[in-house]
């Protein structure tokens, strides 16, 4: 049921936010432009088809949440929880993103060209996140799977209580969280990092990065680790 022609321009101020989302959710193909987002929450959420969406301006909370297969570009900043619980597809933010970017994401690629604040990739479950700038504290908290690439610096407690995600940071790490350690960069890691950087259209050499991941000491409760839980 495709009700709207592709290549439409959707004005969030003129239309109801739900009308904009319904149009995007029902489209099966084509490219759409969304104008006047004005920080509105939950724009372009729950898209399930391989359409293209360009949002011109700054978005509010949970933009592009639960995305599957769509390619969404935010030409501006994104509020809390951009691409939260993404399943597949690509979301790109040309500016900065607020906290909890890519939270609980299962798959797909989230690219943030600027900085992102606290708890980036919290509980990530398979999503790939590439950040051009810095990330805030408690990023990749309880991360379970996926890759987080940071071209700038990472804030305090990176990878706290991490399970199996791989973290690559080019700049300084303020501190590592519980059970997160630096790990050896082997050829397989340089190769996957090069691929991620290329897909994110980021100009950086894999040789400049360090890898962090789980020490796997907190998987099961042990009384000796009580202070770390």
């Amino acid at each position: 049921m495709t009700t709207t022609l592709a290549n439409s321009e959707l004005d969030v101020v003129a239309l109801d936010r739900r009308a904009v989302n319904r149009t995007l959710q029902q489209a099966e193909r084509g490219d759409f432009t969304v104008i006047n987002p004005c920080g509105t929450h939950a724009l372009a959420c729950g898209l399930m088809n391989p359409i293209g969406v360009t949002i011109k301006g700054h978005t509010g909370y949970y933009c592009a949440g639960m995305n599957q297969r769509a390619t969404i570009t935010i030409e501006g900043n994104a509020g809390t929880g951009v691409a939260e619980n993404m399943m597949s597809g690509t979301v790109r933010v040309t500016g900065d993103a607020s906290q909890s970017a890519g939270a609980t994401g299962h798959g797909g690629l989230l690219v943030i060209e600027g900085n992102t604040s606290a708890r980036c990739g919290i509980s990530m479950k398979g999503i790939d996140i590439v950040v051009g700038g810095n990330i805030g504290h408690m990023s990749a908290f309880m991360a379970q799977a996926g890759r987080l690439v940071v071209l700038g610096d990472a804030g305090d407690d990176l990878g706290d209580s991490i399970y199996e995600a791989r973290l690559y940071v080019r700049g300084k790490v303020a501190s590592l969280g519980a059970d997160c350690i630096e790990k050896e960069m082997r050829d397989e890691h340089r190769a996957e990092l090069a691929d991620l950087l290329e897909r994110a259209r980021m100009d950086a050499s894999p040789d400049q990065f360090r890898r962090y991941g789980s020490a796997r000491q907190l998987y099961h409760f042990h009384i000796d680790n009580i202070g770390a839980y």
């Binding site: 004005c38 920080g39 700054h58 509020g79 607020s98 906290q99 805030g136």
Partner: protein, 298 residues
């Protein structure tokens, strides 16, 4: 959840628009705090002290209080009423007037005192509150405002923000403090008075106490970062400008935007989205535990 906004004008061009722009921002934050609202407007300091007050009963005899205050201060006092609010203006000592009202007018709540600040608050839909209290028509140099969704204490006019923290300063808060009961007792012993069970009033009282002891606003906030246990984004209005601080874990949101004409802060960008010239603004999220401030003072 609550919504907070602050708008600070760098040049006089927009001063006639301050109230209208603040009302616009407040409206956008209504969904974050639909149960009550309030605002503090700064401007027009000309050596006159202004005491912002609220009638608890709605039946206060303001003219009678005006005469009584003239007698107490030995100089002219003028009262201007609006809905359940009244502003007393006098060339006499504002603090003396404030203290006298607290002692002698039990049906009156003193909201603020200073040469620049006027403070208003009310229960109900934020748009209705700002309309009833004439926000859109007000002029000035800067403003802070708040929409409340009560979590820690009752929905009352007195529990609404902003809270005064001393002469010409006030505070709006998004978040909740865990140690406000103990802190309130400590501050009571040091001479602070509290009119509600509200946690944000304790934060205001803390800053008032620190500044009375000689701290600058920045030093007082540094103390707050040490002594407050809880979640908060604060916007603090001062005579010359405003300050913004978030707790070190950054549980509560905040965004700041700056142009050549203004600095705006809010819980969310949508409150800033319709300000004039926003397309050229530098926009960033304030870092946790860091104090940001703007001031007209040299």
């Amino acid at each position: 959840m609550c919504g907070i906004v602050g708008l600070y004008l760098k040049t006089p061009d927009l001063e006639p628009e301050l109230g209208r722009l603040t009302a616009l921002m407040l409206h956008e934050m209504s969904s974050r705090g639909p149960d009550s609202a309030g605002f503090a407007i700064y401007g027009g300091a000309n050596g006159v002290s202004k005491i912002s007050t609220l009638s608890r009963t709605g039946e206060t005899n303001w003219k009678h209080l005006e005469h009584e205050l003239e007698h107490v201060l030995g100089t002219d006092v003028q009262v201007e009423t609006l809905s359940d609010h009244a502003i007393f203006s006098t060339t006499g000592d504002g603090q003396t007037a404030r203290n006298w009202l607290i002692e002698n007018a039990p049906d009156v709540s003193v909201l603020a005192v200073g040469s620049s600040i006027e403070l208003f608050k009310g229960v109900g839909d934020p748009d209705a509150v700002s309309e009833r209290l004439g926000l859109a028509g007000r002029t000035g140099t800067h403003a802070v405002a708040h929409t409340r969704m009560a979590t820690e204490s009752a929905v009352t006019t007195e529990g609404s923000h902003p809270f005064s923290t001393g002469a010409d300063t006030c505070l709006v808060h998004n978040g909740s403090l865990s140690n406000h009961n103990r802190l309130r007792e400590v501050l009571r012993k040091r001479g602070e008075t509290f009119q509600t069970e509200n946690d944000s009033e304790v934060a205001a009282g803390y800053l008032a106490w620190r500044m009375r002891e000689g701290d600058s606003i920045d030093r007082a906030i540094e103390g707050a970062l040490r002594d407050f246990d809880g979640f908060y984004t604060f916007a603090i209005g001062t005579k010359e400008g405003f300050a913004v601080v978030r707790d070190p874990i950054a549980c509560k949101p905040a965004i700041i935007a700056e142009t050549d004409q203004w600095v705006a802060m809010s819980s969310e960008f949508r409150a800033i989205a319709k300000l004039p010239g926003v397309e050229h603004a530098e926009i960033w999220e304030p870092e946790p535990g860091r104090i940001y401030s703007w001031s007209h003072a040299a």
